[in-house]
């Protein structure tokens, strides 16, 4: 055991990195290429090597022996042999099977005839062959390009797609030189690098792939820059309607596009224009389970030259299937994390493309590109009557009783005083509670029941600083861009998935005009299950490397104990 090295390498592909080590940064940069950051609480950060991360490393030009040497050089323990083998195997596999254009048609080339024999034995793969293979080559049906890549990735064989892309319908578009406020529009370095990395060398397998940027890093800007570079008609897919509006606003504000060139395709509108922004939800909508997905036709309604998948880690399965059909179209995936909770990372690799660029969350924060965040939990006891109600209630009702603790209003009032004048979002799960608080504190409220147009108006007013406090229901969870929110207060709602937590935090991560950091509060009822739910959030945030503090609200004195947060 050599304490002078920064890593421990486990046999299951987990790699632990010591943050205190002098070689930390260098090692972290190396791990980012070959592994995925799983969590970074405290001094030891956990990374994971997976087939997809190793394919990504191979796709970016790394050789297995280089990886093994670097790992061994930095590891306190001897590398487990099984892992060494796994690294060699997975990295060797990238490039063993290629798709290239040829006069006969789209051709799959295997590195050896033995490998081709193996492919022939997989019926789901060989059914895509147009003719019997000739030694290591086989022509496949053009329409099977995506399906064969997906099948092979699922079997552990990534396909290097060098078949190129069709240009799509041309579209004259550029980024504006100045914004509507007169400020010059200049892409940040990493946004330029990301676009460059995406397009890469098209004679090889460049032109399609995933860009990993933290929430608040300006993924929309990368998308717009890619469209401006390629100058082609583009379909943009996002997780929800609010996000659609924000894409459209940004496109119109920052590019030379006009209203007539940008369409919204959602539950409310079905406009297909040269640039069309749609939701995953509408694409996967159908009247009955036996019916096909009618809106997937959007993929082929126009001659798209680029498809952008915003929050690609949320891409639903039917969209994956459709994506398999349009592999000749360039694809750009934007996300803050490659981890999919449905475990479909291999599908994303096969059908969207390898990871082309990544910059970690903390590194962006250090450089001031995104706001520094402080996370504080405020515990407030139930009043005696509610406490009795809570104790006597069945388990299923308890969560709501704790969530709606009337004393939370006192805490919110106090926090609003503390952050007076700062753009503040208050997020809750229960509409009754939100309405009551809205009345009591005279605050505007956005719920799912509110017409979309009204919601947008309120969001716009908030962004413009006309309103400094907004109460929102769960609708604000995803892809709502409220760049000036510097304080978020969650008053109820269960701990969501890791993605939801990342999104929630992302709401307030944009750099503030004031230059100050962002603050996230979670108000929970002491002595109830909420404390444990909050602990999950605490764990998640700590794993992401954020400090987490706990305050207690004393209702008898209307003061905090353990007060550590400096406004």
């Amino acid at each position: 055991m050599n304490r002078s090295k920064p890593l421990w390498v486990q046999s299951d592909g987990t790699v632990l990195l010591d943050e205190r080590h002098p070689e930390y940064e260098e090692t972290r940069d190396f791990l980012r290429v070959i592994a995925e950051l799983h969590k970074r609480p405290g001094e030891w950060h956990t990374y994971r090597l997976t087939p997809v991360t190793l394919w990504n490393a191979a796709a970016s030009g790394w050789q297995s022996e280089q990886v093994l040497k670097r790992l061994a050089d930095h590891s306190r323990n001897a590398l487990p042999h099984r892992l060494e083998e796994e690294i060699r195997t997975q990295m060797r596999r990238y490039g063993q099977i290629r798709l290239t254009p040829s006069p006969l048609g789209l051709t799959l080339i295997a590195e050896s005839s033995e490998l081709m024999t193996q492919l022939c034995n997989w019926e789901t793969v060989s059914s895509a062959f147009a003719y019997p293979p000739a030694e290591t080559n086989v022509v496949i049906h053009e329409a099977s390009r995506g399906r064969i890549k997906r099948e092979l990735a699922a079997k552990g064989y990534p396909v290097k797609d060098e078949a190129g892309f069709h240009a799509g319908e041309a579209l004259e578009i550029s980024l504006r030189e100045t914004s509507d406020t007169g400020a010059p529009i200049v892409l940040r370095d990493y946004q330029v690098e990301a676009v460059k990395a995406l397009l890469g060398d098209e004679t090889l397998d460049g032109g399609s792939g995933v860009i990993v940027l933290p929430c608040g890093a300006g993924k929309t800007w990368v998308g717009m820059a890619a469209i401006a570079k390629l100058k082609c008609e583009t379909l943009i897919l996002t997780p929800n309607g609010v996000s659609v509006s924000q894409w459209i606003t940004e496109l119109l504000r920052n590019t030379t596009l006009t209203d007539g060139e940008v369409g919204e395709y959602t539950g409310h509108k079905k406009n297909v224009k040269p640039i069309t922004v749609a939701t995953y939800q509408v694409l996967t909508h159908r009247s009955s389970k036996s019916e096909e997905y009618p809106h997937l036709a959007l993929f082929v309604n126009r001659d798209w030259g680029l498809i952008i998948y915003d929050e690609v880690h949320l891409l639903p399965a039917p969209v994956f299937r459709m994506t398999a059909e349009i592999q000749a179209t360039r694809r750009l995936g934007l996300t803050a994390t490659l981890v999919r909770e449905d475990g479909c990372e291999k599908d994303a690799f096969a059908l969207i493309g390898p990871k082309r660029y990544e910059i970690p969350w903390k590194a962006m924060e250090d450089k001031g590109w995104i706001a520094q965040a402080a996370c504080t939990e405020v515990r407030v006891a139930l009043d005696p009557e509610t406490a009795i109600l809570y104790a006597a209630a069945p388990k299923r009702s308890r969560h709501r009783i704790a969530g709606e603790n009337p004393r939370k209003t006192e805490v919110v009032r106090s926090l609003l005083e503390r952050h007076h004048g700062m753009q503040t979002l208050i997020i809750g799960q229960y509409l009754d509670q939100l309405r009551e608080m809205s009345n009591e504190l005279s605050l505007p409220l956005i719920t799912g029941e509110m017409p979309h147009r009204n919601r947008k108006q309120l969001f716009d007013r908030f962004n413009e600083g006309q309103i400094d406090v907004l109460l929102v229901s769960k609708v604000a969870n995803f892809a709502v861009d409220l760049p000036n929110a510097s304080v978020a207060i969650q008053i109820s709602g269960s701990y969501g998935s890791r993605q939801e937590e990342a999104q929630r935090l992302g709401r307030i991560m944009r750099p503030k005009q004031s230059g100050g950091g962002a603050t996230f509060y979670s108000v929970v009822s002491e002595g109830t299950d909420e404390v444990e739910f909050a602990r999950n959030r605490e764990r998640f945030l700590l794993e992401q490397g954020y400090p987490y503090l706990v305050d207690r609200w004393d209702s008898s004195t209307n003061t905090y104990t353990n007060q550590k947060v400096v406004p």
Partner: protein
């Protein structure tokens, strides 16, 4: 049987004889126990040096090679050596007797009187490096990339694998069903804690109770637990022995694995001499240096068995195997030799507590810390680095196991040499806040028939001070230790108590004594193949007359010099030599030879003897014939002078 027990079972007469040897005497006179001297490398080296040319040493080497610690009859050794060497049976018997006198070979008597000889199982380690050392060095510098490893699942050192099974037994002791068998669900629960598989242990061909229900990996865990006294079998239960566990946890990881290896070698490897020699040979190898498998093949032709054994050791996390240029190679990952001192563990911050409640446990962390962690946290990963996680339920478990909030915090802070992250301290604070507010407790209740009686008892000052607490209007909690006093007082003041409740409570407390006195052969779960401790130690060394029955009845001249006897006497002499399996010196036409007679062939009045020439002497030279000399037939007429040649009996005659 090991050396300690073997020496302890020797009669004083033999102990005195052994202690009288000059190489032993000085140390023994200085107070060193005989078993310590006989188990020491220094003494073994001295003995080997003094006996380098002796027949005893060669016989000892043959025993080591062919039997190792497997018990044998002298006849079996004799047959083997007569076939493969130039030794006569007489020489072998005498050499074995001298080896017994030296405290190297030991003997027991079966119930029907047959003698079994053996080398103590732990003395193989002593003699193998001296008499059958590994020939060949490590391969030297190896380009790791040229080694192709057999890709296997990660394996923990056996000490850590066992720790998790034993911990599971600590939580839920194994109890027999009413049919006297272990419940299948318990078996499943326990083997889930193990990576070792049934297939990997198949080469040991273990035999044990309930073999149809218990897979060998669990039998091994029970056997090693019972043998090392961490587990205790009492009545219908196998449970943790507090004292045994405490002793075990005080060991370093290296020492724990060394002991397990020694047990594996002595108990399971010892049934096959080739394996036993291979296991002790491994002790002499350098850590993390590659060796070819065939250097362990000391007794040739047992390669398959050695291959199986190396596989087994690999699955126990102790060595690695690979292929280099077509040759099977291996290297040990940790030292097993006794010579390696128990290295003190690095106490400085062996644990890392992360703010999210995960605890990282580096490989060098000791057994004690690991055991405590398994009591206070949930195991997430068992790999090179173990990962545990503090959870609400783990805190409940910890509290039930007797850890207070502060003791838990103290343990973690000592392990990390730093204060706990605030979030972790808060987690523990939160989770412990609700614990211990209510608890079940067994107390001794003094019941009265009504409130009036209760009042009378309260009014007796002597009794009142023993009544800890009143429950309701007619019952009291009293201290169990004051039972006798309260009982007597109640009688005195006229309320003689009924006894039944007390008796019933007493039944619930079963005191399980730790097994301290059992010998190693009787501990454990797996049947010992060569358990010879059940036999009586052979209490005497044979006298010359026992080695050579009829010795005092033959003319002394038969043993002194070759003479020409009458044919019938000559025949008688040769028959005696055959009976004793001794050689005879024969004079033939002016030359002399050493002949080993096997059989007399009589045809009418004529007779001849069949045997082998061992040596022939002429005036100028001595020709020593090899051990596989042809059988020849020598007629009675060809032998002019004959005498029986016996090995030197001087040393054994001092018995």
């Amino acid at each position: 049987m090991n050396l300690l027990l073997s020496v302890q079972r020797l009669p004083d007469s033999i102990r005195r004889l052994i202690a009288s040897d000059p190489a032993v005497k000085l140390r023994h006179d200085q107070g060193e126990p005989l078993e310590a001297i006989l188990g020491s490398r220094k003494w073994a080296e001295t003995w080997s040096r003094h006996h380098s040319e002796s027949q005893e040493l060669r016989v000892l080497r043959a025993i080591l090679m062919n039997f190792a610690s497997v018990p044998f009859e002298v006849e079996a050794l004799s047959k083997l050596m007569e076939r493969t060497s130039a030794f006569t049976g007489a020489e072998i018997r005498v050499a074995v007797t001298k080896l017994r006198r030296s405290g190297i070979v030991y003997a027991v008597r079966k119930a029907w009187g047959d003698q079994l000889l053996y080398l103590p199982n732990d003395s193989i380690t002593l003699w193998q490096p001296l008499l059958l050392p590994v020939t060949g060095n490590s391969i030297g510098e190896v380009n790791e990339r040229e080694v192709s490893y057999s890709a296997r699942e990660f394996r923990l050192p056996l000490s850590l694998e066992l720790l998790s099974v034993w911990h599971e037994i600590a939580i839920n002791p194994i109890a027999w069903t009413t049919k006297g068998t272990i419940h299948r669900t318990e078996v499943t629960r326990l083997i889930r804690k193990m990576l070792l598989s049934e297939r990997e242990l198949s080469c040991l061909s273990l035999a044990y109770p309930q073999q149809d229900r218990i897979p060998p990996q669990l039998a091994l865990a029970l056997d090693l637990g019972l043998h090392s006294r961490v587990l205790n079998k009492a009545g219908n239960e196998i449970r943790i022995s507090a004292k045994g566990l405490s002793n075990w946890l005080a060991l370093s990881l290296l020492e724990a694995d060394r002991r397990l290896y020694a047990h594996l070698s002595d108990c399971y490897g010892a049934i096959n001499p080739a394996i036993h020699l291979a296991t002790v040979s491994i002790l002499t190898l350098n850590v993390m240096e590659w060796y070819r498998d065939d250097i362990l093949n000391i007794t040739s032709g047992r390669f398959e068995a050695i291959n199986d054994w190396l596989e087994l050791l690999q699955s126990m996390g102790w060595l690695e195997r690979g292929l280099l240029h077509g040759n099977s190679i291996f290297r040990i990952k940790q030292p097993f030799s006794l010579a390696v001192e128990n290295q003190p563990s690095d106490k400085q911050g062996t644990l890392f507590v992360q703010p999210d409640g995960e605890i990282l446990v580096p490989p060098e962390t000791g057994l004690k810390e690991r055991w405590v962690l398994s009591e206070i946290a949930e195991l997430v990963t068992a790999d090179a680095v173990f990962v545990y996680r503090l959870t609400r339920s783990s805190c409940i478990e910890a509290c039930n196991a007797g850890y207070s909030k502060q003791s838990l915090i103290d343990f973690l802070e000592q392990g990390t040499c730093s204060p706990l992250p605030e979030s972790v301290a808060r987690m523990i604070e939160d989770w412990y806040a609700a614990l211990g507010k209510a608890r079940f407790s067994e107390v001794l209740l003094l019941r009265t028939d009504n409130a009036t009686t209760a009042e009378k008892l309260k009014n007796d000052p002597e009794l009142a001070e023993k009544l800890l607490e009143q429950v309701g209007d007619r019952d009291f909690i009293i201290e169990a230790s004051s039972y006798k006093h309260v009982h007597a007082r109640l009688r005195t003041i006229g309320f003689p108590p009924l006894e039944d409740q007390r008796d019933r409570m007493g039944d619930q407390v079963e005191i399980v004594p730790d097994s301290e006195v059992e010998d190693a052969d009787h501990l454990g779960w797996i049947y010992k193949r060569n358990a010879i401790s059940m036999f009586e130690a052979d209490r005497s060394l044979p006298m010359a007359e026992e080695l050579f029955p009829g010795l005092s009845d033959i003319p002394a001249t038969w043993l002194l010099k070759p003479r020409t006897y009458h044919l019938s006497t000559r025949k008688e002499l040769l028959q005696q030599a055959i009976n004793w399996k001794a050689s005879v010196q024969v004079e033939q036409k002016g030359s002399t030879g050493l002949f080993v007679p096997n059989e007399l062939r009589v045809e009418g009045a004529k007779w001849s003897v069949i045997g082998q020439w061992r040596q022939k002497f002429s005036d100028d030279n001595i020709i020593t014939l090899n051990s596989h000399a042809e059988n020849v037939e020598v007629s009675a007429d060809e032998m002019e002078g004959v005498m029986i040649v016996l090995p030197s009996l001087e040393e054994i005659e001092t018995n």
